[in-house]
C-alpha cells in the first residue's frame, strides 16, 4: 500500500514544487516591484498572472547555445545535477501531518526516514557539482571564476548549516522531521506556541537561515551570480532550457529551505488552537497542511524581502562570516545545548545563552578590530610619530 501512497505523493510534490517555482517568479517580481515603488508585470494576464507561463514558453523556444570549446557532456549534465539534487531533497520533507502509526496518507514522499535532516543536507551538498561543472564546462574564464567562488561559498556554509541543526536534533531526540514537529507540539493552547524551537534557539535559527540563504546563492550572498561582478557567474553561457533548470534549482532550494526552517524552528503544521497534535475534527488535516503552507509562504516572502534590504557581501566578507563568526557561534550553541541536555536544565537557559553569545561575539569582534593583531585590526595605527600626515 505504501508504494501507491508514495507515487501519489511524488506526483503531488513534483507538481506543487514545479508550479510553485513558476509562481515564485511572479511573486518575486511583484514583491520586488512594490518594494521599489513600481508596478511589476501587469500586461500578460490579469495582474500579470500569466507572466510565468510566458517566461516558461520563452525558455522553451529560445535558441540553445553550446559555446565552442565547451565540454558538451558536462555542459548538459551540470544543470540536470542541480535540479536533480534539489528535487531529491524534497523526498523527506513532510508537507502535512504524517500519521505516526503508518496508516493513512503520509503527506510526504518518504516521511519516516530517521535521518531526515541529514539526508537533506547530504543531497543538497551534491548540488555543488552542478555549479562547479557548469562553470568549468563553459570554456569561459568568468564562469570558471564564478563557479569557483560559488563552490567555495557553498562548501563553507554547509558547516554552520549542519552544526546549527544539531542543537535541534538534541532537543527533539531525533532527526526525523516528523518527530521534530511532534516534539514542538506537545502542550495544548498558547503554551504550545512557546514550545517552538525558535524561542529557545534563536541563534541557531539565525545561523541556519543565513547559511541556507548562502547555500542557494541568494542575496545578500549572491556574489557568484550577480550581474555587476561576473556577468552571470557560472550560468553565463547557459541559454534556454538549461538556464531555466538552474533557475528552477535555485527556487526549489529556496522552497526546501523555507520548509526546513518552518519545520525545525517554527513548529511545522502546528498552530495553537486550530491545528494541534490532538486535533482530529473533520478537515483538520487540510488545516494543518494550510498552516504549514502559510508559514512557508511567509518565510519565502521574507527571503525575497531580505533580497531588497541588504547590500551584497564581498567575497572575503562572506568567507569571514562563515569561518570566523557562524562556525564558532554554532559550536557554542551546540555546547550550550549539550550542557542543558546533560544536566537536565530548563531549555529557556538556551535563550539567555544565545543572547549572551551574540553580545560576547560582537564585543570580541569590536575588541579585535581595535586592539587585536594588525591583521584583524580595522584601521591602521596612526603614524603620528613621523610627522607625515595620516592618509
Amino acid at each position: 500500500m505504501i508504494w501507491i501512497y508514495a507515487s501519489i505523493a511524488i506526483v503531488v510534490v513534483m507538481g506543487a514544487v514545479l508550479g510553485t517555482c513558476a509562481y515564485l517568479i511572479w511573486i518575486e517580481r511583484k514583491l520586488a516591484a512594490r518594494v521599489q515603488d513600481r508596478i511589476g508585470p501587469n500586461r500578460v494576464g490579469p495582474f500579470g498572472l500569466l507572466q510565468p507561463i510566458a517566461d516558461g514558453l520563452k525558455f522553451v523556444f529560445k535558441e540553445d547555445v553550446v559555446p565552442a570549446g565547451a565540454d558538451k557532456a558536462l555542459f548538459i549534465i551540470a544543470p540536470t545535477i542541480s535540479v536533480f539534487t534539489t528535487m531529491l531533497a524534497f523526498a523527506v520533507v513532510p508537507f502535512g501531518p504524517a500519521p505516526p502509526d503508518g496508516k493513512g496518507f503520509p503527506f510526504g514522499i518518504a516521511p519516516y526516514v530517521d535521518i531526515g535532516v541529514i539526508f537533506v543536507f547530504a543531497v543538497t551538498s551534491l548540488a555543488v557539482y552542478g555549479v562547479i561543472l557548469g562553470g568549468w564546462s563553459s570554456n569561459n574564464k568568468y564562469s570558471a571564476l564564478g563557479s569557483l567562488r560559488s563552490s567555495a561559498q557553498v562548501v563553507s556554509y554547509e558547516v554552520p548549516l549542519g552544526l546549527s541543526v544539531l542543537g535541534v536534533g538534541l532537543l527533539a531526540g531525533s532527526f526525523n522531521l516528523d518527530s521534530v514537529i511532534r516534539a514542538q507540539t506537545g502542550d495544548p493552547g498558547i503554551r504550545g506556541l512557546f514550545d517552538w524551537y525558535i524561542w529557545c534557539q534563536p541563534l541557531a535559527c539565525l545561523i541556519f537561515f543565513s547559511s541556507a540563504l548562502a547555500e542557494s546563492n541568494r542575496l545578500p550572498f549572491d556574489l557568484p551570480e550577480c550581474e555587476q561582478e561576473l556577468v552571470g557567474g557560472y550560468h553565463t553561457e547557459y541559454s534556454a532550457l538549461k538556464f531555466a533548470m538552474f533557475f528552477l534549482a535555485e527556487y526549489t532550494h529556496v522552497i526546501t529551505v523555507s520548509f526546513l526552517t518552518a519545520i525545525l524552528f517554527f513548529g511545522g503544521w502546528h498552530f495553537p488552537w486550530i491545528a494541534e497534535a490532538s486535533s482530529d475534527y473533520f478537515g483538520a488535516v487540510v488545516v494543518k497542511v494550510l498552516v504549514l503552507a502559510a508559514k512557508v509562504g511567509l518565510i519565502i516572502s521574507f527571503i525575497m524581502l531580505i533580497r531588497w534590504t541588504l547590500p551584497r557581501f564581498r567575497f572575503d566578507q562572506l568567507m569571514t562570516l562563515t569561518w570566523k563568526v557562524f562556525i564558532p557561534l554554532s559550536l557554542c550553541n551546540l555546547l550550550g545545548m549539550m550542557i542543558i541536555k546533560q544536566y537536565d536544565l530548563s531549555r529557556w537557559w538556551m535563550l539567555l545563552a544565545s543572547i549572551v553569545l551574540v553580545v560576547a561575539a560582537t564585543g570580541t569582534s569590536l575588541f579585535l578590530a581595535r586592539f587585536g593583531p594588525s591583521v584583524a585590526r580595522a584601521r591602521p595605527a596612526p603614524q603620528a610619530a613621523s610627522g607625515v600626515p595620516v592618509r
Partner: protein, 217 residues
C-alpha cells in the same frame, strides 16, 4: 587658491558601538523600510499606452509649418532654418510669392524627420515663427519616404495640433514676432512694448521711495 574654512565640511564617522556591530538592529531597520514600501507603495509608474505622459510646453517633437490669419503659410523662404539646422535635414526651394505683401514663399519645403535631431535650432532661427516643434513624440512610419514631411504634411500637422492646448509658446507672440515677448516680460508695466519708450523706473527727482522702483530684471 587655498580653500576657505567656510567651504570645508567636517564629517564625523558614525558611532560604531556594540549595537551597530551586531548588524541585527540595522537589518531590522532595513526590513522595516522595505516593509513600509511594500504595504504602502507610492508607485510612480506611468502605464504608457493608456496614460500619455504630461509633456512640458517647450517640448521639442514633430515640426509644423504655421499658417497666418488668412490661412497662408507663414514661411517666407529666408533659408535661416535650413542654414541653422545641424543635421541639414531641411530642403527649401523658394519662389516669388503670389501675394502682394510677401516677397517669397516656399514652393518646396521638405524636412527629413529621420535625419532631424529635434534640437529646435530651426524654431529659434525663424524670424516669422513659421516653423515650430510640437509635442508629438510617437511618430512612426513604414518607409523612409513616408518620413519625408513636405510642406502639405507639415501644414497638416499644424491643422491637427493648433489649439490643442500644447501649442508652442511662440505662437502667441504679438505682431512683432517672438522677440517682442522678451521685452514684455522684462518690463511688465503695461502696454504693448515698443523700443522707443521702455517703461523703466519712473522715479521723480528728489524722491527716494523704494516702491517706485521696478523689480530688477
Amino acid at each position: 587658491m587655498p580653500i576657505k574654512n567656510d567651504d570645508v565640511t567636517w564629517v564625523e564617522e558614525p558611532e560604531f558601538g556594540l549595537l551597530e556591530a551586531m548588524y541585527l538592529p540595522a537589518i531590522a531597520e532595513g526590513v522595516k523600510t522595505t516593509l513600509k514600501h511594500f504595504f504602502r507603495p507610492q508607485t510612480t509608474t506611468e502605464e504608457y499606452p493608456e496614460v500619455k505622459p504630461d509633456l512640458p510646453l517647450n517640448y521639442r517633437g514633430l515640426h509644423r509649418l504655421n499658417r497666418d490669419e488668412q490661412g497662408r503659410v507663414k514661411c517666407v523662404a529666408c533659408f535661416l532654418c535650413a542654414t541653422a539646422c545641424p543635421a541639414r535635414c531641411i530642403e527649401i526651394v523658394g519662389d516669388k510669392a503670389p501675394w502682394p505683401d510677401r516677397d517669397k514663399y516656399p514652393t518646396k519645403f521638405v524636412i527629413d524627420e529621420l535625419k532631424c535631431i529635434y534640437c529646435g535650432m530651426c524654431e529659434e532661427a525663424c524670424p516669422v515663427d513659421a516653423i515650430e516643434l510640437t509635442s508629438i513624440f510617437d511618430l512612426t512610419g513604414r518607409s523612409r519616404e513616408e518620413m519625408l514631411f513636405d510642406r502639405e504634411k507639415l501644414l497638416a500637422v499644424y491643422d491637427q495640433t493648433v489649439g490643442s492646448g500644447k501649442d508652442p509658446v511662440r505662437t502667441h507672440s504679438g505682431p512683432l514676432g517672438a522677440a517682442a515677448e522678451i521685452v514684455t516680460t522684462l518690463f511688465p508695466a503695461g502696454g504693448s512694448a515698443s523700443y522707443e519708450h521702455p517703461p523703466g523706473p519712473s522715479v521723480a527727482p528728489g524722491t527716494s521711495d523704494a516702491s517706485q522702483h521696478n523689480a530688477p530684471p
